[in-house]
Amino acid sequence: MKRTAARRSVAPVAAVFYLNHHSQYVHWHFFQMSVSNILVILAMFVVFLAAIFIPFPSHGVSGDSS
């Protein structure tokens, strides 16, 4: 009974992202990668570019520039 209750308490959280299916792959000649991995790599590029171009909030205190 305890196991069932524990699984029920977890189930709604897991249902937000339904992952109980076969993963989708992009296959082009020698290139083969899952869609989820491609999305993560694209997200890394986006975060990398955002970190370069988005200005850092200043606190009005300048540090040692040497």
């Binding site: 196991r3 993560v40 990398f48 300048s62 040692d64």
Partner: protein, 224 residues
């Protein structure tokens, strides 16, 4: 008294440690102005993820293998452990990209770069041994695939990915200890050498123009 201290290995070690890492360098209270950029945040984000990985992994290790499958709390900590690893690699890769394009090995920082790269390389088998220690069909699939990779690389005699005990020991002790040791060395080296400054773009542009200007003036003199 001081002579005795200098001769002892503890005294010499202390003098050397304080000499290379004085307190103001070890625990600085201000950083250069160029550090005020989001690209400098990913190193500390990786460290934060590593702390969560170690914390959640310690709880999983204390409760033993299997706990994360049949209890809600175990499932929760297993998920925390997994997603902190995913974020650790995410932030570490962005950190690596940023430092690569900054050429962060400049100014005598080669060892800083090397220890960072080694952290990435050692973290990969650390994560792999975690995936094969899950004790589910996913782990079986990964281990049977990965053993072929090890055998094809000629190191299959040393690592048996179908041996849960060996992989679990690697995952909870040997490889995390190696990752933490290299990360500590990396952070101490960053403290010693300081954060790498950005390229002096104006100086580089001026240097690039100098040969062109010299060539033009030489051509003008020849024509005259």
């Amino acid at each position: 008294m001081s002579v005795v201290e200098d001769r002892s290995w503890t005294g010499r070690l202390r003098l050397r440690a304080v000499g290379s890492l004085p307190p103001e360098k070890l625990l600085p209270d201000k950083q250069p102005t160029y550090v005020s950029s989001w690209i400098y945040v990913f190193g500390v984000l990786s460290l934060s993820c590593l702390a969560v990985i170690i914390g959640s992994g310690t709880i999983l290790a204390l409760k033993g293998p299997g706990w994360w499958h049949f209890t809600g709390v175990g499932h929760f900590f297993n998920s925390i452990h997994l997603w902190s690893v995913e974020l650790f690699f995410f932030f570490m890769v962005v950190h690596l990209w940023g430092k690569y394009w900054m050429a962060a090995w400049r100014g005598g920082r080669a060892r800083v770069w090397i220890t960072g790269a080694f952290t990435f390389l050692v973290a990969i088998p650390c994560a792999l041994t975690g995936y094969v220690s899950q004790q589910n069909f996913d782990a079986q699939w990964i281990s049977t695939q990965a053993k072929d990779a090890m055998n094809s690389a000629g190191i299959g005699a040393f690592f048996n990915l179908l041996n849960f005990g060996q992989m679990y020991s690697y995952h909870v002790l040997l490889l995390p200890a190696a990752v933490v040791a290299i990360v500590v060395a990396h952070v101490l080296l960053v403290r010693k050498h300081g954060v790498v400054p950005p390229f002096e773009l104006r100086e580089l542009a001026a240097k690039a123009k100098e040969p062109a200007a010299a060539t033009q003036s030489a051509e003008q003199e020849t024509r005259a």
